[in-house]
Amino acid sequence: MIYYIYDGSFEGLLTAIYEAFYHDVKPDMILKRSDYQENLFAERVEIVTERNKSDRVYNAVREKISSRSLRKIYYAFLSEIKGVETRIYHYLQLGFKIGRKIDGHLTDDTVLELNRISNKVGLERHRLLGLIRFRRLDNDIYYAPIEPDYNIIALLAPHFSKRLADQNWVIHDLKRKVAAVYNREEWVLTGFSGQPGSYAEDEAIYQSLWKDFFKNIAITNRKNSRLQLQFMPVRYWKHLIEKETT
């Protein structure tokens, strides 16, 4: 078995794919360094991330396949699902062979699987665009903790930088210990495992107003918890003000 080992970044993965196309020794698996376990039968090829190589793959996917495919592999990559890198590699092998037509290949398992994974990531992004809750801190920063299944923080930040452009905010992925920090001009991604400061004075008021609204807007004769659960799975409740159990 030949393993390509990369640093875990998207550029790293694209570099690995570049090497896979130009190298004689083709990978059976592409793995993050952190996912690799010592294995006697493995032949490992260490991939050194190189921007010019990853850029070439990036542009080639966009031009020779489609920007839709580029987005698909990026979303799939963010799923962090085990083995997804190898799937992306196989998908691109097919893509470079048949080009833009790949999207119509709906009966092909590689294409189907990649669609499925990237759709799941896209769905979680879309859900969280609505389900994120900011809390106003006393230094006038709006702070939102999240724990998404997939690594979607970089897919959320651009939305809020347009929408909440005139306020300072932080989106904090507690699971992955990273934060998107916005200062009314631009947002950056940074490692962060700290705690937020204390709440602004009016925060408690708006939280209880929101909870009241949430309760009052439901029509009791139509109660339907199953439906509520389906759209708003319990795993997201932890950071939802209206579902807090205090």
Partner: protein, 432 residues
């Protein structure tokens, strides 16, 4: 009165409006402003009744001079009353928006003093919100029937969506249950708003920086089950509204008993199943190329509670089936029970690269449970039973759980349209 008390009263009074959609507007943020539109709409929460919460849905006031029998706010009803000030509405909207609780504001109102007076208050609020507070999030605004149209037209420049609720589907029921309202005073502003939307679209083609007028379109609501109209009557009305007034959406709201008035039915439960069937039929009108007269007629004026309208239609037209999926055209594929727009498109697209097997259909997400009785794949029929009406019908009748399961997806299609929006965003091309 405290803000908290007002919000309780005026959100509780607004909950019977079924609409909470925030789709259809891509309004951009302005320099130094707050908010923007997301054309696909975004749900921010789901309340205990399973409905999507997207907008801060409130009445400006629940003081009303009218006495509509089906409405909790009628003047003869004894209940706590309150009115917001424009500033209070603005404060709530902005503070909820900054915390990402909501996509925007849905402001409606009972009629305080006079229709003009009420409409002026609504206009004042949205104008201030847009111009002074630079709010660019979504605004759905009610137009008050009977108000001077110049007020409504001015408000439409600030709103993304406007609506006038018809509530009762016929003149007769309206004069019985809402004697102070006239069908004309409801339909006239709808027609005018529709014309203004159309005109604005035309003019914006010529000069791009003209302000938009109600870019997310117009909607209305009908109460189901408070009056004796048949499904056929209601569906014909809706078809006319879509065609003639260019409406974006009609919402159906199962009547919830709020009064002992002898002219109103005493229901034990709101007719949710009937509401659901109407939503299904509404989809067939808007997206599947059906006409109201194909689905119901004078002899059969109501939907079968046990069959969805499409299955019902297919069973009545068995001579058109089974359909060969490798050859049937797109329009006919859409008419197969269990095949939605997404599956139909996938079938047509996949056919270009080779012929389709029965197994492939499953991969496209086609619900074969129902579709299998109406199709063949490469000439083979997979229904597993003889192709006979009674036998197929038996398999299509919905048990209680099945109904329940489906109800969720359609009874307010926000969730659906939002998922579609997300699909078209991520995968490109409108699904739906």
């Amino acid at each position: 009165m405290e803000l908290r008390e007002k919000l309780k009263i005026l959100s509780g009074a607004a909950k019977y409006d079924a609409s909470c959609s925030s789709s259809g507007s891509n309004r951009k943020n302005t320099p130094g402003g707050i908010g923007n539109g997301a054309s696909s709409g975004i749900c921010h929460s789901w309340s205990d009744d399973g409905r999507c919460i997207s907008l801060l849905k409130i009445l400006f006031t629940n003081y009303c001079i009218y006495d509509c029998a089906y409405c909790i706010n009628r003047v003869s009803n004894d209940l706590p009353r309150a009115s917001f000030t424009p500033e209070e509405v603005i404060k709530l909207t902005i503070n909820f928006y900054r915390r990402n609780y909501i996509e925007g504001l849905f402001l409606s109102s009972a009629v305080i003093k006079s229709p003009d007076y009420t409409m002026e208050l609504l206009l004042k609020t949205v104008r201030k919100l847009r111009e002074e507070y630079k709010f660019n999030g979504y605004i759905h605004l009610k137009a008050i029937p009977g108000a001077d149209f110049s007020l409504i037209a001015r408000a439409g420049r600030y709103a993304d969506r406007m609506s006038v609720n018809i509530e009762l589907p016929s003149k007769k029921s309206l004069s019985l249950l809402a004697p102070q309202k006239k069908m004309e005073s409801i339909l006239t502003p709808m027609k005018e708003i529709g014309l203004n939307i159309k005109e604005n679209r035309e003019e914006r083609k010529k000069s791009k920086n003209l302000p938009r007028f109600v870019p997310a379109g117009q909607s209305t609501q009908l109460i189901i089950g408070a009056s004796p109209e048949t499904d056929y009557h209601i569906l014909k009305l809706c078809e006319a509204l879509y065609q003639r007034f260019n409406l974006k959406r009609v919402y159906y709201s199962a009547y919830i008993p709020v009064s002992n008035n002898p002219s109103l039915p005493q229901l034990r439960r709101p007719p949710l199943l009937r509401e659901h069937r109407l939503y299904q039929a509404d989809w067939l009108l808007r997206f599947y190329g059906f006409a109201a007269d194909e689905l119901l007629d004078r002899a059969n004026p109501n939907f079968n509670p046990k069959l969805d309208p499409k299955a019902n239609w297919a069973l009545n037209h068995l001579h058109l089936f089974p359909l060969e999926v490798n050859r049937a055209d797109y329009e006919m594929l859409l008419r197969v029970p269990g095949i939605g727009i997404k599956s139909a498109r996938r079938i047509v697209s996949a056919r270009r690269t080779g012929s389709i097997d029965f197994d492939d259909l499953e991969k496209f997400g086609t619900v074969l449970k129902r579709a299998r009785y109406f199709i063949t794949c490469k000439g083979k029929y997979y229904g597993g039973i003889p192709f006979r009406e009674e036998l197929i019908k038996e398999r299509l009748v919905e048990g209680k759980t099945g109904l329940h399961r489906q109800q969720l997806s359609l009874f307010d299609d926000n969730s659906i349209s939002d998922i579609d929006g997300f699909l078209s965003e991520t995968v490109g091309g409108k699904e739906g």
